[in-house]
């Protein structure tokens, strides 16, 4: 076949893809007979009412000398690992505010960190395109540093996100600027599977975030600069299970909903969205009304759900931390406007394992712990 003929085929195939995408978009729109807020309100649900002193900052974890970029709680209740522009990981006892470990990294440009399920190891990754594992029980070297126990190399771009597989001590998933996600065996350092890249249906731009389904750890979602989220089955690396369209900007954050059947996303387009994993439906958009001054829309940097899923915490680039009532799609609180709130962008946040506390990390170099300090009514 000549180049000219191939070009014609290419043009025809492109037109076909665009037409199919349009049909798909329309067909999906026809199936959206309601969103979560519409359904919930029609069933009598009203917004959660928070008193002004209900959610309070009860700890400020100070110690980083640079912006905080990432944090993760242990599965047992009280410890947090954080990663900062200062080139360090710090492990905190959030209850006492004490630092139990401070790890100076070989590569200071760290972007992500995670705790292993047993709480004995931490992982981190960044611009070195690798994921480093540290065993917190290791003997320190003569400089007082914890030595690296394993380096996971193979990504061709920065490591933006990492998470240990919840019920498998030895497996970890990374997301990367090379547009792929990788499932690793931490004990051998080997790549078990690569998601995307050479295979079709992979992301077409940098991956910024991953979230593993705690109800079914074979499934995880990834969020990308290509404005989509994709669902993967770790047993089938050859193609994404589904691609979720809707966002109009980079998807910076993805997090599974507690029931394991939905997941949330946060994006540069300033919105959070809730997608149904199985059907692909976009069930809800969480979006603030903008003023008419055409000010730049604050981007969503990070999200987390409360343990029941009723609350969606979203950190924004302007320092706001909105608490959304997931059911009625209204902002019920702004942690960024409370007393003792952060003085800069919220870059990361996460719930403790028992759901009793939220930790936020910020470009103001601090982490803060938020808990319910008001009168709780138990029904």
């Amino acid at each position: 076949m000549s180049v000219a003929e191939l070009k014609e085929r290419h043009i025809a195939a492109t037109a076909n893809v665009n037409a199919l995408r349009e049909r798909l978009k329309q067909r999906r729109q026809e199936l959206l007979d309601t969103d979560v807020a519409g359904y919930a309100k029609s069933h009598g649900k009203t917004a959660i009412g928070f008193g002004s002193t209900d959610l309070v900052c009860c700890r400020t974890l100070q110690g980083h000398t640079g912006k905080v970029y990432s944090l993760d709680w242990t599965p047992e209740r009280n410890r947090i690992v954080s990663a900062s522009q200062d080139g360090r990981l710090i492990v905190w006892n959030a209850l006492t505010s004490q630092k139990t470990h401070a790890i100076k990294l070989h590569c200071a440009w760290v972007m992500t960190c995670a705790f292993a399920p047993n709480g004995q190891s931490v992982a981190c990754g960044g611009l070195d395109s690798a994921c480093s594992i540290f065993n917190l029980n290791s003997q320190v070297d003569r400089d007082g540093n914890i030595p690296i126990s394993r380096v996971l190399t193979g990504h061709k771009g920065y490591v933006s996100s990492c998470q240990f597989v919840p019920d498998q001590e030895t497996r970890l998933i990374t997301g990367s600027g090379d547009q792929t996600c990788v499932l690793w065996d931490v004990t051998t350092g080997q790549r078990i599977s690569v998601f995307g890249g050479e295979f079709p249906s992979g992301h077409t731009a940098d991956v910024f975030s991953v979230s593993i389904n705690s109800s079914n750890s074979n499934m995880f979602v990834s969020g990308s600069c290509d404005a989509t989220a994709r669902l993967w089955d770790t047993r089938i690396a050859s193609r994404a299970v589904r691609t979720y369209h809707g966002h109009e900007g980079d998807v910076n954050a993805v997090k599974f909903f507690p029931d394991g059947q939905r997941f949330g996303t946060g994006s540069d387009d300033g919105t959070c969205r809730l997608f149904d994993m199985r059907t692909g439906h976009q069930l809800q958009i969480y979006s603030q009304q903008l003023d008419n001054n055409d000010n730049e829309v604050p981007t969503v940097t990070s999200i987390a759900f409360s343990i029941s899923g009723r609350l969606l915490f979203a950190g924004y680039s302007n320092g706001n931390c909105y608490v959304w009532d997931t059911l009625v799609a209204e902002v019920v609180l702004n942690l960024g406007a409370l007393q003792n709130s952060h003085e800069g962008r919220i870059s990361c946040l996460g719930l403790s394992a028992d759901g009793s506390a939220l930790c936020t990390g910020s470009w103001d170099k601090n982490l803060k712990i938020w808990a319910f300090g008001g009168h709780r009514r138990v029904i």
């Binding site: 180049v3 700890r59 505010s97 771009g157 589904r242 149904d276 709780r376």
Partner: protein, 128 residues
């Protein structure tokens, strides 16, 4: 920190326009021009074929997805599931929640000894 935005966007349709050709060559040039270098031609065909394969795979996926939508229930079914999934789950951060209330939820406001002396936090007071 350098920007995270090291983006390489592959636009559908951008491939195979002038790839493999030297800068002097292009569409609509007089036939008296030098022939296209063989290596460049091969690369152009190869890349075009690869791009077409990817598009064909995407067409297949999109068609599959469209077909599945014929038997997919509307969003109201999933919205109902969202509502139902929250019922009965005790949530420490809600002002009104199902029980049981776990004592450990309030540990953030209890007397805690730290190595810097006695520090404690009390429900309802200002602190950081």
């Amino acid at each position: 920190m350098t920007t995270r935005r090291m983006r390489r966007e592959e636009e559908v349709g951008a491939m195979g326009t002038t790839e493999g050709r030297s800068r002097e060559e292009g569409e609509g040039r007089p036939p008296s021009r030098l022939p296209i270098p063989r290596t460049g031609d091969f690369l152009g065909k190869h890349r075009l074929s690869a791009a077409i394969n990817r598009l064909d795979q995407e067409i297949h996926s999109l068609q599959e997805e469209l077909d599945k939508l014929d038997s997919t229930e509307p969003s109201s079914a999933a919205c109902k599931e969202v509502l139902v999934s929250m019922e009965g789950i005790p949530d420490a951060l809600l002002p009104v929640t199902r029980g049981p209330e776990i004592a450990a939820w309030n540990r953030w406001f209890e007397r805690v000894r730290s190595s810097h002396g006695h520090k404690w936090w009390q429900k309802g007071s200002d602190f950081s």
